[in-house]
């Protein structure tokens, strides 16, 4: 069953793969984003994600439906974690299955690109010296027209 979720607990990779692992679906493509340990020259110790939950859930559902329209017959699970994450932890996971691998790749890619561009989630980096800083988006989409910085600790484009 396709679904989206915003969660605070750790993301279980194998469990999410199993959710889309139906017998008619021979191909599964997943995207997993983890917290990186560096941001430019600074050492990142973790990230704090915040979310506009009602809108994020609605936007993720929209993206899911668009991806399902793009890849008819796909099953997709998309989960984003929020709250405090340490370096190496998984912040986002998409699993998309389909009878054909090209469609599974397309569905997975479309979903992560949509999440990165449209879902109202923000992150603040924690540095080794105890300071924090909001991470600016990396892509120049319409809704990202505000501030803009370079490398940051989240996985980026």
């Amino acid at each position: 069953m396709s679904r989206t979720a915003i969660v605070t607990a750790a993301i279980d990779v194998a469990a999410i793969v199993d959710e889309v692992r139906g017998a008619p679906q021979g191909a599964i493509v997943t995207f997993i984003g983890t917290v990186r340990n560096s941001s430019g020259t600074r050492t990142v110790t973790g990230l704090e994600y915040s979310v506009y939950a009602e809108m994020a859930n609605r936007e993720m559902t929209d993206i899911l439906h668009e991806a399902l329209a793009l890849a008819s017959g796909a099953e997709i699970v998309a989960v984003h974690r929020v709250g405090n994450l340490d370096v190496g932890e998984i912040c986002v996971m998409i699993a998309a299955s389909h009878a054909h691998r090209a469609a599974a790749f397309d569905a997975c890619r479309y979903t992560i690109e949509g999440i990165k561009k449209r879902v109202p989630i923000w992150k603040r980096e924690r540095y080794a010296d105890g300071s924090t800083q909001w991470v600016a988006a990396c892509s120049d989409t319409a809704q990202n027209a505000g501030n803009h910085a370079g490398e940051h600790a989240g996985e980026h484009a």
Binding site: G33, Y49, S50, Y52, E54, M55, A56, R58, E59, H80, C91, V92, I112, I115, K116, K117, R118, V119, P120, I121, W122, K123, R124, W134, V135, A136, A137, C138, A142, Q143, N144, A145, G146, N147, H148, H152, G154, E155, H156
Partner: protein, 78 residues
């Protein structure tokens, strides 16, 4: 018209709150909210992105009583 606006992340730091009330000339529109919100802090961009009822909205969208209005910093999920 008084419009209550939810504020997130770096913008909430800029205005010192996660919720602000702004005065917008009538008929109230998203464009009016943008200008009023931008005026709250020099650390906000001149035209911050607005969502109405959990959907990104353009300047011409009207604001009615009871609408959920939010100002959305550049998203940075993933």
């Amino acid at each position: 018209m008084k419009v209550t606006v939810r504020v997130f992340a770096s913008y909430a730091d800029a205005v010192g709150s996660d919720r602000v009330t702004v005065n917008v000339g009538e008929p109230a529109t998203v464009g009016g909210v943008r200008l009023a919100v931008a005026a709250l802090s020099p650390n906000l961009p001149p035209r911050p992105l607005i969502a109405v009822n959990e959907t990104y909205a353009t300047d011409d969208v009207p604001i009615a009583e009871g609408d959920q209005v939010a100002v959305i910093p550049p998203v940075a999920g993933g």
